[in-house]
Amino acid sequence: MRIKESEKNGIVILSLGGKMMLDAKSASLHDYVKDLIKQGKTKVVMDMGKITWFGSTGLGALLASYTSLKDNNGDLKIARATRKIRSVFMFTQIIKVLENYDSVDEALAAFNK
């Protein structure tokens, strides 16, 4: 899995790509988020538009990242989740707590609501 970081108005945008399932690198997404928290960056948007493979490893990485950010008064918003990922969110009811937006800009704007 690839992680590309950018920042806009104090909110970190992590653009994720590739397989969020098979390798240990998916778990490192949580480590990446924990490093951001250490830097005082607790508002994160994850752009999942280029994720090609999603399973329990990816799900676990998302959940761990979300709880770490929430524990530090931050938040995580998801942008551009693919149809498959949205299905997982729906069937697991994660959609009730983890918001998905159609675009990164919409996810960024949601922090100001």
């Binding site: 399932m21 098979l22 493979w53 999603f54 399973g55 329990s56 799900l59 676990g60 959940l63 761990a64 979300y66 709880t67 149809r83 498959k84 299905s87 997982v88 069937f91 697991t92 009811q93 994660i94 009730k96 707590v97």
Partner: protein, 142 residues
């Protein structure tokens, strides 16, 4: 790979072969189901099971790490995932739960809860020869 009208058998010998297996799973499911959402769900559940089967499989001479059998019967697609390795406790795990798995999430162990959330039934049996058999069933509406 063995294939007839309603049955497909795939031997998977590592993570690198999962991509090819995915195509076969998609082709099989698409043949019996027209709902993209159901096909997506089946693909994810079956691949999750195969991924875990490979991850926890013990290598044996002349045997594949994971064997996948797909069949269609009575408006349902059934996937049987077989591996040789340590037994696991499927029945003790519930479907994915916001309270248990999300808000109290620690590390790992989400595979079976995720699969149970996605499909209609999950059964498990341990054979006397040391193989595990996970049976996944999803009803489909053409």
């Amino acid at each position: 790979m063995e294939n007839n009208n309603t049955n497909l058998k795939i031997c998977i010998n590592g993570f690198a072969e999962l991509e090819q297996a995915r195509e076969s799973i998609l082709n099989f499911c698409s043949h019996y189901c027209r709902s993209d959402e159901v096909i997506d769900i089946l693909e994810m559940a079956i691949l999750e099971a195969c991924h875990n089967a490979i991850l926890y499989s013990t290598k044996r001479k002349n045997k594949s790490l994971c064997e996948l059998k797909l069949s269609f019967d009575n408006q349902s697609i059934k996937a049987i995932v077989i591996n040789y390795g340590k037994a696991f406790k499927v029945l003790e795990k519930e479907s994915f739960s916001i309270e248990q798995d999300f808000l109290q999430y620690k590390n790992g162990g989400l595979g079976i809860p995720l699969i149970k959330s996605l499909v209609d039934s999950v059964e498990y049996s341990r054979r006397s020869d040391g193989t595990n058999e996970l049976i996944i069933l999803k009803k489909i509406n053409k």
